[in-house]
């Protein structure tokens, strides 16, 4: 059953819907989960561009050993805001956006459980992001203590300035956190309560399982960060002593609370990416997803294990040996469910005829890069190795392999994969492939050099370094600029295709999810008739299901 994806089926082509040209709704306070999803995705992409610009300034500074492009406080502000924006205003809210768009469609619901709450969760974000960026205008600049904001460094602010960069940083992160928690409540309730008849837990697509696991982590772990930040704010501005080592406080407590959230946050970011792989790979391999149930349960497994690993960020924070040992073992245990995932993806594309369209390229590229990110992660979980490379560029390389090479690639895969569903039009394949190869080459050129740099001992968060590190740094910087350039064909493609793209039809990929059974873009209430689900989610290759079906499956089941 092969099908040329570039040619939509004749019967799929439908007259233009009213929704398409109604761009004003995307600037309004809409309660439609699809509008909110698009709002999230577009807004976070703008923040992604800002975060990327900050990264390119960092790379420009690091191209020479001397500190000559930006001054040191500004450099500190750059890496602090780069990390903060990429985590709190790009990946996490983008995942909230794509989940917002897809989860109700995938489970056969008309909307999220609490549409008004959903809109409020979104509209908290833009002001928080602008607030965060506005700290560049303060006389003392932005927060400068990195995205973890460890005390006592984060508490060292000039006296007599109650409103400083750090203060604004904390306030905006707490606001973003409130938005995330409201979103998580909404997602969990939606997935538990809004499923279409017959949509049992083990008929949910793996993307929904990943979203559920990620949102459960938000619910359980994010409040710990909020609590820690509230205490930090009191220390900073109201004279309390929780984390002040000079006045009996204990900064290590902050580290515990911070990592209790921020390690699982890695999985809050990564799980939706894994879910995207599980949707894209079977569609382009025309194979059923291998080990669907193990992959679904592995999402929850990753979530559960990840709650018990936070101390591996603190191996050098005077952590007792037994605790290091314990958390080394739990950290390595994460490799088991993630390994299940990786094997599932590999087995799905095993011996299949691959259709290398852009979403598939990004998904395969991301999944392959996850290998390097994941393996360096297991290395870092080992205490002796971690002590050796602690706070070096090896860590930076490792987590960029995860957050950029895996998660951001998955995000691009998702954008290309669901672009026809969201806009009703196809993107331009050639531009998409150009985007992929520029991104793939640029990302590896940027982040691979960081691994040997770290092993050689280059410390992170510095604007000047010993000349012997310059070779790798030049490669990384040039890769970084290539990565910056790579975003241009993407923007051109998205804007151009949105305006002039070919009509996509309802199911251009002949994919099996419920979201493909409705029109592109879906109508306000998603489905004309709520579908009754009677089949597993990934039945690619089953001749009975390899044609497009109407939303009501009664006909297909004889």
């Amino acid at each position: 059953m092969t099908h040329d994806f570039s040619e939509p089926l004749a019967e799929d082509i439908e007259p233009e819907t009213e929704l398409e040209n109604n761009w004003r709704q995307y600037l309004s306070f809409s309660t439609d989960h699809k509008v909110i999803g698009v709002q999230y995705m577009v807004m976070t992409f703008i923040f992604f561009l800002i975060g990327g610009l900050l990264a390119m300034l960092i790379r420009a500074e690091l191209i020479t050993p001397a500190s000559n492009v930006v001054d040191r406080p500004l450099y500190n502000g750059l890496f602090t805001l780069h990390g903060t924006i990429m985590i709190f205003l790009w990946i996490i809210p983008f995942n909230a956006g794509i989940s917002n768009y897809l989860v109700p469609l995938m489970i056969g619901a008309r909307d999220m459980a609490f549409p008004l709450l959903n809109a409020i969760s979104f509209w908290i974000l833009p002001p928080s992001g602008i607030l965060l960026l506005s700290s560049f205008l303060l006389p003392n600049g932005t927060a400068q203590s990195g995205w973890w904001s460890y005390p006592p460094i984060s508490l060292q602010v000039p006296p007599g300035q109650p409103i400083n960069g750090e203060f604004i940083w904390i306030v905006s992160i707490v606001l973003i956190g409130i938005s995330s928690i409201m979103g998580a409540v909404n997602f969990v309730t939606t997935i538990f309560w809004m499923r279409a008849p017959g949509m049992t837990f083990f008929r949910m697509p793996v993307f929904v399982w990943s979203a559920l696991s990620a949102q459960l982590l938000q619910l359980i772990n994010l409040p710990a960060l909020t609590g820690a930040l509230i205490l930090l704010l009191f220390d900073l501005s109201f004279g309390t002593q929780f984390f002040k080592p000079t006045e009996n406080g204990d900064p290590i407590i902050y580290q515990h609370l911070f990592w209790f959230y921020s390690h699982p946050a890695v999985y809050i970011m990564a799980l939706p990416a894994f879910g995207i792989f599980a949707e894209v790979l079977p569609a382009f391999a025309r194979n059923p997803l291998f080990g669907y149930r193990s992959l679904a349960v592995a999402s929850l497994g990753i979530a559960v294990v990840s709650i018990f690993v936070w101390v591996h960020h603190m191996f050098t924070s005077a952590t007792p040996g037994w605790m290091r040992m314990l958390f080394m073992v739990t950290s390595m245990l994460v490799a088991v469910p993630t390994g299940v995932k990786a094997f599932g993806w590999t087995a799905t594309i095993w011996k299949s005829k691959l259709h290398l369209e852009t979403p598939m390229l990004f998904a395969m590229g991301g999944a392959a890069m996850f290998l390097l990110g994941g393996v360096t992660g297991v290395m870092l979980a080992a205490v002796p190795f971690d002590l050796h490379v602690h706070n070096t560029y090896f860590i930076v390389g490792h987590f960029h392999y995860i957050v950029f090479n895996t998660i951001t690639m998955a995000i691009f895969a998702a954008i290309y994969f669901w672009f026809p569903k969201i806009t009703g039009r196809m993107y331009a394949e050639g531009w998409g492939k150009l985007h992929f190869w520029l991104t793939f080459i640029g990302a590896n050129l940027t982040f691979f050099p960081m691994l040997p740099l770290g092993l050689q001992g280059m410390v992170r968060r510095i604007s000047s370094y010993e000349p012997r590190y310059q070779g790798w740094n030049v490669i990384a910087s040039l890769g970084g600029f290539l990565l910056g350039v790579s975003i241009l064909p993407f923007i051109a493609n998205m804007v151009g295709s949105l305006l002039h793209g070919q009509r996509a039809g309802n199911n251009p990929w002949l994919a099996t999810g419920l979201e493909w059974t409705t029109t592109s873009p879906p109508p306000r209430d998603n489905f004309e008739v709520i579908p009754v689900v009677r089949r597993p989610p990934y039945d690619y290759g089953d001749p009975k299901y390899s044609v497009i079906e109407p939303p009501d499956y009664h006909q297909a089941e004889h």
Partner: protein, 228 residues
């Protein structure tokens, strides 16, 4: 189209999972059952959906308190020597505090019958009991304000001041929120035909109030009893 009997059987379809989720669900107590809708398609139960979401939110909220408790306990264990600055005795377990606590905790036993009364459409009984609960909550807030005024230490007086004011303040903020919610529900019960629609609000407020009480039990034990 097959006949109706067959249709129904196929729509309500036993879960095919390796875990017998549906059997597990049937063996759960009723209040827990609604947290595991197995087959989906229960979207029309707005009250149940709302309560589910609100409970999930409270779970999240309790983690914020847990992080505060963790900080308190960790600081207390590692800094027991310099916990109190010289001349400061810390929060006292006085009869005033105990009465305040008793009033707050017993208000849970007032608000629950109030919610039940509304469920049985006994509007008048609901309003009276609800009003008593509001008064009890307000009494607690005023009592805490008086206690704060009479303490001989401030927010920045060592670890004891930092922890005491932030923890009780954060809890007090929740009590205040609860009281405001209660007042809104009481006002809504006077709007014609609104008390039935307001039922979710009343249930949620009741649950929130129980939550606030349970948190106070932990706070009271940590701040006053451990200290004494």
């Amino acid at each position: 189209m097959t006949n109706d009997k067959n249709m129904n059987r196929s729509v309500i379809h036993v879960d095919e999972s390796p875990f017998p989720l549906e059997r597990l669900r049937q063996s759960l107590p009723n209040w827990l059952k609604r947290f595991l809708p197995v087959r989906g398609g229960r979207a029309e139960d707005h009250h149940g959906k709302g309560m589910f979401g609100f409970t999930v939110f409270l779970l999240s909220e309790s983690i914020v308190f847990l992080s505060f408790f963790f900080t308190y306990i960790a600081l207390r264990l590692t800094h027991s020597k310099n916990w109190l600055p010289p001349g400061i005795s810390g929060p006292e377990l006085s009869s005033f505090v105990i009465i305040n606590t008793v009033v707050l905790l017993s208000s849970s036993f007032v608000i629950q019958p109030a919610e039940n009364a509304l469920k049985h459409h006994q509007l008048k009984k609901f309003r009276w009991l609800w009003l008593i609960a509001i008064c009890m909550g307000t009494y607690f807030l005023i009592g805490q304000g008086i206690e704060w005024r009479n303490l001989n230490f401030g927010l920045s007086t060592g670890l004891v001041g930092s922890t005491f004011y932030v923890l009780t303040g954060f809890h007090g903020l929740h009590v205040l929120t609860g009281v405001i919610l209660q007042i809104i529900m009481l006002v809504r019960s006077f709007m014609r035909g609104n008390y039935n629609k307001g039922h979710f609000g009343v249930s949620a407020t009741t649950l929130f109030w129980h939550f606030v009480d349970v948190i106070w039990v932990f706070l009271f034990s940590l701040l006053y009893i451990w200290h004494a």
